[in-house]
């Protein structure tokens, strides 16, 4: 029987959303293949969430060891190599996350398993695995196939697959020894977490956000967009490149590695709409995009779009809004 294998991801005592996305996807694929879903939880003190995982999977492999308390790709690779070499699952699913990206390429290479990363679609075509992934910052999708192998490994993009209600009441929990020694951890050690410093503005509580992206071209142009935010009574936020360049502080960054926001109104100015950015605005009310590239990914998710030069549109828009607000 074919086996789909999902690596559960958790941090600081909580299963991460990607775990349920992977389990839901794995469940569907297992049913299509008439196979089994197996999930592995590696950690220390993880009993609480193995039950949650067992509601999706026929089998949950639990590896408890103090050396697995924090994620460490070196330790994970040692443990998973043993498990995967024995079970030889047909498909191994990991998140395309900071953990999955640290682990999947080396694990697949060590096991000689074909890997493709950052997938947003998975299906079987004539019984063969075929995946969809994005290229060029999400501007095009690519259909990717694999050369014939016993097992395949795929990392899956966060938020690309929905979380479904579990169907299994309780899968079988199997305790697996880690076989880890202190020496195994010597080459790579987790030291600590560092939280982001609190900024002066909390964009996560704002009702109106105007966000600026690469299209702004220069730091000196940012006040133009900030002016629009002020006219609307909202706050200014940005994409990653703006923060990377040091034009705005990190607490203004919206996206996977920054803040998740849920305003009533989100206006994206000169923002192309990378998936990392879009992941941070999923729960927004009205989404408006102003961008000169009609094919920018942001226009695939926006409610309203203006395809034009932001330097021409934003100043007039600001004036119109001030005018209208005075009449209200």
């Amino acid at each position: 029987m074919k086996e789909i294998f999902v690596l559960a991801e958790h941090r600081r005592g909580e299963l991460r959303d990607i775990t349920f996305e992977l389990l839901s996807l794995g469940r569907k694929l297992a049913e299509k293949l008439d196979g089994n879903l197996v999930s592995a939880v590696l950690g220390f003190g993880v009993k609480d969430f193995t039950d949650k995982v067992a509601r999706y999977a026929e089998q949950v492999l639990v590896v408890e060891d103090e050396k697995l308390k924090e994620f460490n790709s070196e330790a994970y690779q040692k443990v998973l190599t043993n498990i995967l070499e024995e079970r030889k699952p047909f498909l191994i699913l990991l998140g395309h996350t900071s953990y999955g990206m640290e682990l999947a390429p080396s694990l697949s290479t060590a096991l000689n398993i074909p890997l493709t990363t950052d997938c947003i679609g998975l299906d079987f075509k004539d019984g063969k695995l075929q995946v969809i992934r994005q290229m060029y910052g999400g501007k095009v999708n690519a259909e990717v196939s694999f050369s014939e192998a016993e097992s395949y490994m795929v990392t899956v993009r966060s938020g690309a697959f929905p979380v479904e209600e579990p169907k299994i009441t309780s899968g079988k929990i199997i305790v697996v020894p880690s076989h880890l020694t202190e020496e195994d951890l010597a080459p790579k050690r987790f030291v600590e977490y560092i939280e982001e410093a609190k900024g002066e503005v909390d964009i996560t509580s704002a009702d109106i956000i105007v966000s600026v992206g690469r299209g702004i071209k220069d730091a000196k142009n940012i006040p133009l967009v900030e002016g629009l935010a002020k006219a609307l009574g909202g706050v200014l936020a940005s994409t990653r490149p703006i923060v990377d360049k040091g034009w705005l502080p990190k607490d203004r960054q919206v996206g996977l590695s920054g803040k998740t926001v849920k305003p009533k109104l989100y206006i994206a100015v000169g923002v192309s709409g990378s998936f990392q950015h879009l992941a941070g605005i999923k729960g927004s009310g009205i989404l408006i995009a102003i961008n000169k590239d009609p094919k920018a990914p942001i226009f695939r998710v926006a409610d309203y779009g203006i395809v034009d030069d932001l330097f021409k549109v934003v100043p007039v828009l600001k004036e119109k809004i001030i005018e209208l607000k005075q009449k209200i």
């Binding site: 990363t117 192998a149 490149p241 590695s257 549109v313």
Partner: protein, 263 residues
């Protein structure tokens, strides 16, 4: 401290329109501007900063055709000491795994303490090559790195996690680090640097020099294959407002008023 930096020459598509070509497996590249991959530019800068602090050599490697010389020259002009271009007709259509294998073939005989590369390339976005390369070389790695401190036989790095969180990890040297954007401020190329770089030789290594066989590279050697490209579907029906700036601004502000978001 000897540092190897793996870079890629990529089309800049952040602000450009991307069009799929007739083969259906690639995009039209004639009108695109090529440059060093943004992530790799940060990796190069980090290597140059470490060289300034600890001494040593910075060697730049790329897998690419002659056009990639432009990116290698740029790296030399910024301060890299030597450059290699790994190029062979047989390398075409290699996937991320095979690109790592080609780099491995060149690097396995070199002396190094650290290998830096970008987290991913802006074109295919695998985020796979650096970590795969580390496994092939049998050395440690850390990905998505936002801070690097070299200590005695170790490197202490900050890895970027989700939601603004970072983790501090210590990794034994030699190691591969994949560098995240924003870690530093990449320098600009100076005129003196360009002159200096112009005199330097770019060494080209092919299949035979790297000890590789035709069937283990390119499409034949790649465990994954790109079948076709297509334009993603919209998940929402976007209403595009048309007209001159004044017209669209009026339309949009009326919509905002109607929706009650103007207060």
């Amino acid at each position: 401290m000897n540092i190897i930096v793996c870079v890629k020459h990529v089309p800049d598509t952040a602000e450009a329109e991307v069009v799929i070509d007739n083969s259906g497996k690639d995009i039209k590249k004639e009108n695109l501007v090529f440059d060093i991959n943004e992530w790799d530019n940060y990796a190069l800068e980090e290597a140059l900063l470490l060289k300034e602090k600890h001494g040593g050599m910075v060697t730049v490697l790329t897998v690419g055709s002659e056009a990639a010389n432009e990116t290698l020259r740029k790296c030399l002009a910024k301060g890299a000491d030597e450059a290699f271009r790994l190029d062979d007709e047989a390398f075409k259509r290699s996937d991320g795994y095979v690109i790592a294998k080609i780099l491995y073939s060149a690097i396995k005989n070199m002396k190094y303490d650290l290998i830096l590369t970008g987290v991913q390339a802006s074109d295919d976005g695998y985020a796979q090559v650096g970590v795969t390369l580390a496994e092939m070389l049998g050395i440690q790695h850390a990905s998505m790195v936002k801070k690097v401190e070299v200590k005695n036989g170790f490197v202490r790095v900050h890895r970027e996690l989700e939601g603004g969180l970072e983790e501090v990890v210590e990794v034994k040297l030699p190691a591969v680090l994949t560098i995240q954007t924003g870690i530093n401020e990449p320098r600009y190329v100076s005129i003196a640097g360009i002159r200096r770089a112009a005199r330097k030789e770019i060494k080209v290594l092919g299949l035979a020099e790297l000890g590789l066989k035709k069937e283990e590279v390119g499409e034949a050697g790649s465990p994954t294959r790109l079948e076709r490209l297509f334009v993603p579907e919209a998940t929402k029906k976007t209403e595009i407002l048309t007209g001159d700036p004044s017209t669209v601004a009026t339309k949009l502000s009326e919509i905002l008023k109607e929706k009650g978001v103007l207060g």
